[in-house]
Amino acid sequence: MLRKLLTALVLVSMVAVFFALPVLAESLSGKVEVNSWWTAGGEAEGLNALIKIYESKYPDVEFINATVAGGAGTNAKAVFKTRMLGGDPPDTFQVHAGHELIDTWVVPGYVQPLTDLYKSEGWTNSMPQGVLDIVSYQGDYWSVPVNIHRSNVLWFNKTIFTKYEITPPSNFDQFFEVCDKLKAKGIVPFVMGTKEGWEAGHVFESVLLGKLGADDYKGLWTGEVKWSDPRVTDALETFAKIASYLNTDHSALTWDEAGQYLLKDKGAMMIMGDWTNGWFMSVGFEDYGWAPSPNTAGIFLALSDSFALPKGCKNQENVVAWLKVLGSKEGQYGFNKAKGSIPARTDVDISDYNDYLKSAAKDWQKDAISPSVVHGAAASEGWSTEYKDIISLFVSKPDVSYAQKALITAAEEYLKK
């Protein structure tokens, strides 16, 4: 009896120790410095949600939220790179999955592979192949994706559409019909903000996608389709035509300032990524509808924010713990709900997300996936920077043949590598 009791006791204590161990291992201390460009509205809230989870799990770690301001990470990327070159890497940093991750960080050998982490956390099963593809290179995984955004969304003001009996245009002919109709009514048909330089490139990638389709659009970035293709010319001409329907103050506005036109019922449509949904939520605007941008139904132009682990980071254990939070169900649920994007994991319960996100999650499962160029998925940073510059100039100087020539030259340079 006594022996039995003793054995039981030993067993119990062994089990207790077994369960206590991970708890012990979790008691981290020191610092962790997380670099991102999430400084606005919903995205900052999303980040805060993640920080809260991290801090409750590891109360002894000092969390340094090192954000660098600037839309689409324009300033942040330069800062991360200088630090990496100088040998003072942040503990972890935000990077768009895809070519931006692979070409800038993985190939030159600045970051550590995370394959073991993927296996131990079971992410290889909980993340879809489309996501795993854009974070892997030569058989290893290199960053932890937190979300999926869609780039090719046409947002519209429902009041205006109802008032003038307009249905969302599904191709460019319908789109221009709608534009003419609204223009005649004194409403700005299509709004855009071009202040930060990347916004025009963002709209144009949707136009390219609409003109070339999923496969040939991707072909532009892999070299299978030439930039001299007449459909590229067509896309540029179409974009120039779109630009003729714009709000005249576009160069003074950021994308969300331009979005004010929709809020005030003064503008009808805009093409912007689905962080717009998060922004609408944060300003309390509900009178909006959405559709795929013209001619891109069934295609999901995607981008994904992820975090990578630099070689030589100072607080390895604390960062790995952070990456685990990022990839966890709990983390992805909280982050994406606040930011207004869909989780990279497919097993997160999003039944209390808003309608747009639910529909986006559905599309994500069934649509053809194409990579966004402005947001780092389709091409290396050098190429996408050049692309952005060319299109940004094109808006103020719509010279189709010059722009196409410049795009061809850029493609030649980068495909050579």
């Binding site: 410095e33 999430w38 400084t39 606005a40 509205g41 900052a44 809230e45 980040l47 805060n48 340094i64 939220n65 090192a66 954000t67 660098v68 301001a69 600037g70 300033n75 800062v79 200088t82 630090r83 070159l85 100088g86 040998g87 003072d88 942040p90 969300d256």
Partner: protein, 281 residues
């Protein structure tokens, strides 16, 4: 009474320009003191109804809830950076100025001109090698690294300031001491150095102001939040959508404060530095 009309006109124009120069300051101080309920952009020009220092508090401490960092840490970084860098570069400048005026040798004028050139270069033309070199020296991203950079690129201006100052010290004094048997270091220690206070004041105030106000080196060498100087932190704070504009403006005032205080209390030396920075002798 013909004269007064032109004089009134002169005063009028001077006052008009005064308005031009102080409007930004006025906005800066005014906005910082408004309470959050009255800081709307459309009431930018209205006077505050009551004194409130909440904007300064937020700009200084940041807000974890708002997701932005305050400037306090960077303010201290700038202080730790600017004090040693100022002192060291003044010492270099003093020695160089001494040699270049009292111990001229064949080629010393050429050397001076070559050093001076370093004052005018666009630093873009050296930043790529600079980052690579600092990495090799293992000081990239650290305050000592940034001090090193400021000392090095401060050599031309501090040399110029001291050289221009020592030219006014009579060479006869030095020559006489040489005859009396004083050597190079002795003359510096007993004759030149005791006379150098104004030179040090000008050089140090100049270096203090320009190192405090520097942005490019801070951005390139120490962008990490742990060691970034205040100008880099301010630019980041001001670029952030979530930070209200009154907090940004309060941050701007905090950043501007040390050089403004130096200007108010030591303006005479500051002005002298300005003149020398521009025109030789």
């Amino acid at each position: 009474m013909k004269i007064p009309t032109t004089r009134i006109l002169i005063y009028l124009i001077l006052v008009l320009f005064t308005v031009f120069y102080i409007i930004p300051m006025y906005i800066m101080i005014l906005t910082g003191m408004k309470s959050f309920s009255e800081v709307g952009l459309s009431t930018m020009w209205n006077l505050p109804r009551s004194l409130n220092f909440e904007s300064f508090r937020l700009a200084w401490l940041g807000s974890a809830k708002g997701g932005f960092r305050g400037l306090s840490g960077s303010f201290l970084n700038s202080l730790w950076l600017v004090i040693p860098a100022t002192i060291i570069s003044a010492i270099f400048g003093s020695l160089n100025g001494y040699v270049l005026t009292k111990w001229r040798f064949y080629g010393s004028d050429l050397i001076f001109t070559m050093i001076l050139f370093g004052m005018f270069i666009p630093y873009q033309s050296i930043i790529i090698p600079l980052v690579l070199t600092l990495q090799k020296l293992h000081v990239y991203g650290t305050i000592p690294g940034l001090i090193l950079v400021h000392v090095i690129y401060g050599i031309p201006i501090s040399t110029l300031i001291f050289r221009n100052y020592y030219i006014t010290v009579p060479t006869e004094m030095v020559e006489a001491s040489k005859i009396d048997g004083a050597n190079f270091l002795g003359i510096y220690r007993w004759i030149i150095f005791p006379l150098s206070t104004p030179g040090f004041a000008v050089a140090m105030i100049w270096q203090f102001t320009s190192i405090w106000n520097d942005f490019l080196f801070g951005l390139i060498v120490t962008p990490n939040p742990a060691s970034q100087p205040i100008t880099v932190a301010l630019n980041n704070l001001a670029g952030s959508y979530i930070v209200q504009w009154n907090v940004q403006i309060a941050g701007a005032l905090l950043t501007a404060l040390p050089p403004i205080l130096v200007y108010i209390f030591l303006g005479k030396f500051f002005l002298r530095g300005l003149m020398q920075g521009s025109l030789k002798g």
